[in-house]
Amino acid sequence: MLDEPYRWVDAIRNRRDYLEDQLEGASPVVGVAYAAGVLLLTSTPGPRKLFEVYNQVASAGVGHPADIEKLRKAIIDIAHVEAFNLSASDVSLQRLVAFGLGPLMKAAFDEIFRSPFIARMVVAELDPSDPLETFYTIDADGSFSSSAAAAAIAGTADSAEAILARLGKDDDRQVSLEEALSRALDAWAAGRIQAEREDAEEELEADRPITDEDVVAAIGGALDAGRIEAAVLDRTLPTKTKFRLLTEADLEGALAQFR
């Protein structure tokens, strides 16, 4: 029956609805560029969500943990095979996404008798050859887009948009890590609040501006339920790998006011 075109389109539509349902509760991931590199930030009830892919590449995902693991493993494998066959400097985010993650997620999404990856991914590269490709976000259907100064993935499109809107048009990448952390935390809270309002179907609430009290409540809630996780790709690190998970001490300055 699926060889009939409209049935196939119907099945794909069902998959999109299924994915939206599965993803809508996800905690967003925010990415911002800052003076020394790139910052990724999210909240988690415990397990790590931000990962090193290669020396200058990091990834994060929202969705089903097992699917995020598969995608994380896949992109790491691709990066290292590339580094072995060519060289470390030939591992680029653009190629990892365009020829790796994107097609992998698209293929799973199109195979309607198998489960798609219930995940959205954001991948960041430190100092890519094209500065407009610092971040890539990849949706569950394999579609991807790049950005220069900021990126967000979330359970819903509106939540991700709320994050980017909160970050604004400010394209100043020369801010300190402390400033970047504050901006990312504030934007993450905006995405979380938007998702909660959608979830509660508070249609009247949806357009209400986000206040400082809302932000404090959202971040406080995240700290009660788990922890804030952040990682950087820092070009000032002396090691080959530029990825570093921020410690609680690194985050304390930004989080103290919310405890």
Partner: protein, 265 residues
């Protein structure tokens, strides 16, 4: 199903990107002698001093009687705490070092934990074992030293391991030297460590002077070992492996020590 073992070598083999070398048919082992009999023209030296391990290698690459290159790097860092010092066939040695580095990185990133010291030693053994056909044919023997400084756990501190051509590894306590120049300095190293002053008590400056003296001695009697060449400012390669990580000893420091020793001037 994706392979979740974190074994990068298996991934390459599954994809056909790591062909196993074979012994060519009709190959005559009498012609080149047993594995390890081929010359490993170089001198590599590692010794434990007060703060960690110094690893040094000369810069000369030879083919028979011909000096092919005078700036070869034979001491390579494979991660943030360990280095591989290589004697043997450069092509295979570099490939093994490269595979080792990427395998360690791949394991750490996929498994979210460092590969244990025993796991790293085993991985290098596997690579050497895989290389056996090349060694048997007399064109690809590799005899490395693996030096690491473990930052925590029961094996914390500096360690020096040497391998035979078949992949067996042995830990040495005070020092290790391989390559064609090593027999020349091995006795001297033992003597100095046993009856002069133990290397483990020496500071870095003292240990560095000793390393430069030993390489110069090896170069004096072994044509495959390059000495300090003042006219071209070619210095040996020396790395320190300590709890703070791996750092190259800058050529300026080597020059200062050479001056103090009045060697090569």
């Amino acid at each position: 199903m994706l392979d979740d073992s974190g074994d990068f070598l298996s991934i390459l083999k599954e994809r056909g990107q790591l062909p196993s070398p074979q012994v060519a048919s009709g190959f005559d082992t009498e012609r080149v002698g047993p594995p390890g009999a081929q010359t490993e023209g170089t001198t590599i030296l590692a010794l434990r001093y007060r703060d960690g391990v110094l690893v040094a290698g000369d810069r000369r690459a030879t083919a028979g009687n011909v000096v092919v290159y005078d700036r070869a790097a034979k001491v390579l860092s494979v991660d943030d705490r360990s280095v591989l010092a290589l004697s043997g066939s450069p092509a295979n040695a570099y490939e093994i070092a490269r595979l080792l580095e990427i395998s360690f990185q791949h394991y750490r990133r996929t498994q979210l934990q460092e590969l244990s010291l025993d796991g790293r030693l085993r991985m290098l053994s596997r690579l050497l074992k895989d290389n056996l056909p090349m060694a048997l044919q007399g064109i690809g023997a590799v005899v490395p030293i693996y030096i690491t400084h473990e930052v925590s756990g029961p094996q914390a501190g500096g360690h020096i391991y040497f391998y035979d051509v078949l992949g067996a590894n042995f830990e040495t306590v005070d020092f290790c030297t391989t390559g064609s120049g090593s027999p020349i300095i091995r006795g001297a190293l033992y003597f100095l460590n046993r009856w002069e002053r133990p290397f483990a008590e020496r500071d870095e400056s003292d240990a560095l002077r000793l390393v430069l003296q030993m390489l110069e001695t090896a170069a004096e009697f072994d044509t495959a070992t390059g000495g300090f060449k003042s006219t071209a400012a070619i210095y040996p390669q020396v790395m320190r492996v300590t709890g703070d990580g791996i750092t190259d000893i800058p050529e300026a420091d080597l020059a200062t020590h050479y001056s103090s020793l009045q060697v090569g001037s």
